[in-house]
Symmetry: C2
Subunit: 453 residues, 2 copies
């Protein structure tokens, strides 16, 4: 009886999170005889590796984000629900949503990723935003561009060139990419735009708590990375423990470092949904999973992407795009196998555990330089321009959708070849944390006289 | 002596406002032996006639906005200041800025445009946003897209198809364009994206207080406009006086009209800066100017664009892009003449007053239809597809910058030919005024069972 019922009814799969893992799972589930509900708080998938290019006004949000609905539009067995998960009833196999909707599942994939961690100092978030969402990126763009505008104003007010300090906390790939890009727009793109200040006087500093930047890279590429950053005039300080972040400055121990704009690229923690599952998590909130990506005792639940703590060869699989995509695909394929077995197929010989196939890692360092640790199709450590070309090709390739690829390619060609402005729009508020304070300490406003003498 | 000093010193021109009038003035002033400061609260020029296409997710903000600095980058006699004007000292010829900077001028051009008028009911603004800035457009996009998402949620919750009502208050070109575009995205682009609701059930209504929509157009085009709107299924109600705007509904007299999303396209008033000049203004706050665009007694001050009340042939010149551009150019040329006369040149025979050269007006009505009142190079009233083609060509032509033109052309070609998604990103909050209320009155949440049966 149970078997007959199992055969007659299509299994229901709920996927929570429409990032790299969730979308790749959905693409694979589209091929299976299952009904899928994909739930995300946002209506769009974001190609996170290029977020910093929105933050630095090279690309537009629409270039790297795509509505989830449109991505899965042609898969009739997938429905999308924009809602927020507030709980899991693992015994009853139900997902509880904020609106009160409860989704029943036979299989569950949870892939809600990670968020910034301020190491318990959440009050720093306002002063030093991190970069995880389109909104974050637009906010960082606003702050960076506004800093130059406010400096121009202050220069006209006081006649003294104000400092243009940008401090990036965290020397991982995001921190390095942000630093390189700020340096680029200041030195290459903005110099002709201002009459009073000299944007190329911008000082960019990376503060990294550990003894080295780009910790996930081999030592030779770390060294190349520092060299390339220094060549751009970026100061890199390692073993620098930030003890306070305030409007206008950052404290490293007892040393005060002035900062017009402070950005956070230091810590991540798992999405809080990991804890809601009620299973074992690590200290960052990632869910401990076995070789099938299941938390203990729940072969019907898969945790993928940044939210999963997967050990491989004694190391934790990193929280980047590639493993997330591979986990999403694996979980969906595994569900396909379990469904087939339940339907009476012999699943023997296919019970392979998940294994991350590492093709390499890369990070850009400003315009036309990068570090790349290539693992496949051959092993190599590249840096500089060749690494940047690899980065360019791979990132265009992995962008979802022909339209986005075309648009990004055109945008890049324009920006990199013409040195012309990208999309340097300041939207939202005109206030910058800390700038008011500095202005108050400035000299009494002077009449300008002839603005261009 | 005075003459010698006059010859030796370059005159200073302050332009307040970087819209159609201000930018066109700047382009003309770039040719003159004067020093120019262009002040705007925002860092970007916005091509307002296409704002509604951002609101309806066809174009991206960067397609129609451009940093003011980059527009005037090559004009060495123009500097840009992102700041807010808080006062004018007309006797001392100084502009007072929020930061405390005071700009001295010999000539002043004020062109700060207009803003929404809620006829004293400013509390309506939160419920029914208007469309003047990039931020407005992104907010309207958020609300329109979210309405479909929330309807899908509610349908899953209750099993009953919720109403999808969009009410646009105001039947001028903006109201008509918004209505047509909402109808389009609902019926053409969104139908494949949802599994539960039917987006084509969206009801769009225009509420116009006066007896006719498109009041600035001749009666035959008004009639065509209504026909084309009706063909799209849009309800047009004229002589409909809105007495209250609340989350979830609009009152017309004692009649309650349900509205999931309410947009405001009804009234405009002059920017408050007009009043700060301390000269005569009309009831909407527009500055009364003479044939040289000067307020009485101030031949050194020019008021241009929407902020100016200019009478021509017994009618007020309308607050649209063309007259604004022409006024900006006129004011700059007039300054050129005054500067030349002061330098001893004979300016006789050139003292022509401003005259608006009307090439026509047009408004789109959804995809591939429009009404066009053509005045030049020939007179004609066109509607439907031919009018839409004219609209398309003219709007691409007047977009500033090759890059924007290319981008918009590509985007339009893609969207209109492929019926594919534009840039339907929901950013910002997930809340929609009034939707929570409606949800509370809905039936008790049901379990879903199989999401796709």
């Amino acid at each position: 009886m149970a078997e007959a019922a199992g055969r007659g009814m299509r299994k229901r799969v709920v996927v929570v999170g429409g990032g790299f893992a969730g979308i790749n799972a959905a693409f694979e589930l589209a091929k299976l005889p299952v009904d899928v509900t994909l739930v995300d708080r946002r209506n769009h998938y974001t190609f996170q590796p290029l977020l910093y290019q929105i933050a630095l006004a090279v690309l537009s949000p629409a270039d790297i984000a795509q509505p989830i609905r449109s991505l899965v539009r042609d898969f009739k067995n997938i429905e999308v629900l924009m809602d927020e998960v507030v709980g899991f009833d693992m015994a009853g196999r139900r997902v509880e949503l904020k609106t009160g909707v409860r989704l029943e599942y036979d299989y569950l994939i949870v892939a809600t990723g990670s968020t910034h961690s301020y190491f318990g100092k959440d009050e720093w978030a306002k002063v030093a935003p991190g970069l995880k969402t389109i909104e974050d990126a637009v906010e960082i763009r606003r702050r960076v561009l506004l800093a130059f505008e406010l400096a121009e104003r202050e220069m006209m007010e006081t006649g003294v060139h104000p400092p243009l300090n940008f401090v990036i906390i965290g020397g991982g790939p995001t921190g390095v990419e942000l630093a390189g890009a700020i340096s680029d727009i200041a030195k290459l793109y903005m110099t002709k735009d201002f009459r009073h200040i000299d944007p190329s006087m911008a000082q960019v500093m990376i503060l990294e708590g550990s003894p080295t930047i780009l910790g996930a890279y081999p030592p030779d590429l770390q060294k190349k990375g520092i060299e390339q950053l220094n060549a751009l005039g970026i100061t890199v300080r390692t073993s620098a423990h930030v003890t306070d972040v305030q409007p206008g400055y950052v404290m490293v121990g007892n040393e005060r470092i002035d900062s017009g704009v402070t950005l956070w690229a230091a810590g991540v923690q798992a999405s809080p949904l990991g804890k809601l599952l009620g299973v074992e998590t690590d200290r960052r909130g990632c869910v401990m999973v076995d070789g099938h990506l299941n938390p203990a005792g729940h072969p019907e639940v898969f945790v993928c992407g940044d939210l999963a703590h997967v050990e491989q060869d004694g190391k934790q699989v990193p929280g980047v795009a590639q493993p997330a995509m591979q986990m999403g695909t694996y979980a969906a394929k595994r569900i396909g196998r379990l469904v087939a077995v339940e339907r009476g197929s012999d699943g023997s010989g296919k019970d392979v555990p998940f294994r991350y196939f590492d093709k390499g890692d890369m990070a850009t360092i400003g315009r036309m330089a990068a570090v790349a640790k290539i693992e496949w199709p051959f092993k190599a450590h590249w840096s500089g321009f060749p690494a940047w070309i690899v980065w360019l090709v791979i990132h265009i390739f992995f962008l979802i959708g022909f339209r986005n690829r075309l648009s990004v390619f055109r945008q890049w060609a324009w920006t990199y070849l013409s040195f012309k402005d990208g999309v340097r729009l300041i939207t939202g508020s005109q206030e910058l944390p800390g700038w008011g304070e500095r202005s108050k300490t400035a000299e009494k406003p002077l009449d300008l006289g002839s603005p261009v003498s």
